[in-house]
């Protein structure tokens, strides 16, 4: 049970990160902040897990990283979404919508009495 929910979380996290990067390259903290502000803090990313997730995405070549300077002139690692990452996000989004739609439909259906 624990494991399934964390897997779900991982998949979700990937989608959130890729979505965050669509607008442009961000450092890890930037991604965390974007998610917070976009979801009004409803989906709070477990920040420690953000970085391993970024490594996994980089290994799959969905994001690329490069060292650069942050807005306050600090050395920071910036992540950019790749073309493959965009394609993956598109697929995942479609899946997610369909899934969510189906669940929503089920929840909205009027209960039939036996």
């Amino acid at each position: 049970m624990q494991r399934e929910s964390s897997e779900l979380l991982q998949g979700t996290l990937a989608i959130l990160i890729l979505k965050a990067l669509l607008a442009g390259s961000l450092h890890g903290y930037g991604i965390a902040r974007w998610v917070e502000s976009t979801t009004d803090d409803v989906l709070r990313i477990e920040e420690g897990s953000l970085y391993p997730a970024l490594r996994r995405l980089e290994d799959k070549a969905w994001v690329a990283s490069e060292w650069g300077l942050s807005e306050n002139n600090r050395r920071a690692r910036f992540y950019t979404i790749t073309n493959a990452g965009r394609a993956h996000l598109r697929n995942e989004a479609v899946q997610w919508m369909r899934h969510a739609g189906a669940v929503t439909q089920v929840l909205r259906a009027a209960p039939k009495l036996a």
């Binding site: 450092h27 890890g28 903290y29 965390a32 902040r33 477990e46 920040e47 420690g48 897990s49 970085y51 391993p52 490594r55 290994d59 990283s65 490069e66 060292w67 942050s70 600090r74 050395r75 920071a76 690692r77």
Partner: protein, 877 residues
Amino acid sequence: MNKRSRRYLGFFGRNVEADVDDELRFHLEMRARDYRESGLASGDAWRAAGERFGDYSSVNAALVTHDLGKARRQDRRDLMDDLVQDVRYALRSLRRAPAFALVAIATLALGVGANTAMFSIVDAVVVRSLPFPRADRLVSVTGSVLAEATRVRELSRSYSDVAVYRPLSVGISGDAEAERIEGATVSANVFSTLGVSMASGRAFSPEENSPGRSNVVILSDGLWRRRFAGNRAVIGQRLMIEGAPYTIVGIAPSEFSFPSRTTQLWIPIIMPPSRSGAFWGDGGYRTVARLRDGIAPAAAQHELRTLFKQIRHENPLWDPGPKYGVDATVTPLQDKLVGSARTVLWLLFGVVGVVLLIACANVANLLLVRATARQREVAVRMALGGGRSRIIRQLLTESVVLALLGGVAGIAVAAGSIRALVGVLPSDIPRVATIGLDFRVLGFTALLVVTTGIVFGLIPAIRSSGTDMQRAMRNGARGSSGTNRRLASLLVCGEIGAASLLLIAALLLVRSMWALQGIDPGFRTTSIVTARVTPPSTRFAGANASAVVPFVDELLRRVRGIPGVTAASVASDVPLSNGIYGLAIRVEGQFENIKASLPMVDHYQIVTPDYFTTIGIPLVAGRFFGEDDEVGAPDVALVSESFARHYWPNGDAIGKRVGYPWESPWVTIVGIVRDAKVDSLTGTSEEVFYRPFRQSPVTAMSLVIRSNGDVGALANALRSTIAQLDRSTPVSDVATMRSVIDRSAARQRFTMLLLSLFAGIALVLGVIGIYGVMSYAVAQRTREIGVRMALGASPGDARQMVLREALVLALAGIAVGLVAAALSTHVLGGLLYGISATDPVTFASVPLAITIVSLIASYLPAHRATRVDPTTALRAD
């Protein structure tokens, strides 16, 4: 990150841990800053940020592990990418210089091919262990007489088993044609000692070594397939050996051949207890033993010598005198079987090694020449940021690629030449069947190729990558050409030196071969044909013994009737065929006591009266044997001049009496014949003791025939003549006297042929080397030559300048070669005959020849120098 920027970072040293820490700490700091801005106190902000992040240290550790692995994989990939790129680049640049590539590859193919072929022989014959389980524990024990071996087995603590064997040659007959084959008589435990079990049937049982048992035989796989078509039902059937029926009890496994590769059957030694101890010397028996674990051959030998003292004290009859006692040795069986072939093969292997070094020097030379031509290219690459190690790596890749191409061609050369080499191998070299291109050999070649690629590539690579960039760019191709040429000259000197060394060795062997061929053996060698005729020994056994005399009379009568035969005789053995043995003798008035030590006569031959006239050994004094020197008539003998001189220096040998080393009537010397080389062309002893066939008949004999016809036709006629006389008598070894003599010098011939071949290759490579360096020197110095000519030098002067330089190179190389040859005389000394290892004619003619050849090789470059046009030369960059 792309490769460029990673390199850039790598310049400061990549630090994965610091990077991970930077990234995570940046996150925490940013979060803490945001908390502070929203009103938290600094300490609280930090704590809150930490809590929000979670388990910092484990995340950090996971990221470091991940990033390190990734960096390692990336490094490997980069290396592979570089390699692929380098190989492509190498192939491209070789294609652009086809002449260079061709010469280099051909040179390497010769070097690698010769080495591969030679290694396959050395490996199969000398290096690889014998095909027996735990073969390293098997030893050969010498110095014991047959009966002693049994006592050694009982008393010794060194061996788990001791077995005895003796090679023998037997006639077999039966359903198929009678033939003579090699076999061995063995103690029953020889198979278990060697660790071999029968492919079918059984091995011998110990009782089968006792007299009075039925005759049994074990067949080799080869004999079984050849003569019995591989039919397993032969077990229990009969095979006629020497006219007696033997029951086939076993068939040996296919890879088993012992003691030699020609052994085709085994029969048990019959040890009559009554005669144990009566054997003189080792009786031709040899002992093989398996050492217990942890016992070294030296320790076993020490024990053996102590044991012999004890055994011979028990039974003084076994003591063959002090001369034999010291011979007690324990040596690894492999050394014993390979014997002296080892020295020759290692020598030749060393020689091909030298040939390979020459080939390497040659290719290194070519690469140096090329390196100079490519200086600008290398300089450009370095200017564009190629690191020195990167460029060395690229140049080395190029030479390894070259070596690989040469290696592939070399394997083809080896595959083609191994069979030819095996063809000229002397027949006494064992285990020839296993020689071939197998994985061990190919592994050796692969190692060789990569090593040579690095050896000949390293110096040029380091040289050219060390180019002073700016100077190279400024001066065009003239940057460090001077040092490169000096290095190339040095290499050519080495090549010429090595080639001289090999040529001297080869010429010494060739001259030694001539000397061998020029030896007068003391008998006629042309128009003489010999053949082994061996009636089954049982046929003339016991009461039938004297029947062999009429048999031989009839045999000779029929052989003389064959067209082309002008004379025929019979001898116990043919000279120079390794069959002639010595004998201890009594000499009347000098050595009479058979209990005391008796002198040896080295060669003992039994012959029919016509033998001397047939083979052409002239009479010096007295008379030849006659038909009436038979049993009942007085016992007579002939001796050689040396024999007569040895015991009767005053020249009065005729009429003196000698005797066998046992109680027997005296034999009177009736004639003296001229000395003849009987068992070795190079042997010094020519003391021969002859006895007439009629008085001392033997059942195994050789025909010695004078014939002016074709040998093949004669062989066929002999076979059919003898088959008509007796179907069970095999005829073997039909050969001209000339080929018998050649065979006795087979080892020298083989060494000479190979060494000459290798020396020839070395010379060709050396000449290519000197040609290459001189051409290059002329090309390099076009401007200098142009200046000289502009200042009034004639084309002849230019030519002389080049030739003088070549001469200096050649002479320096020759000096190196002469010194090396003088230092290595002891290696060759043992292989030479009739010529000193420092033979002045050889030591003078080889340098002369090399000088001439070197001048010829540099004539073309010199000629090119005369055609230099000063005006264009001075303008040339």
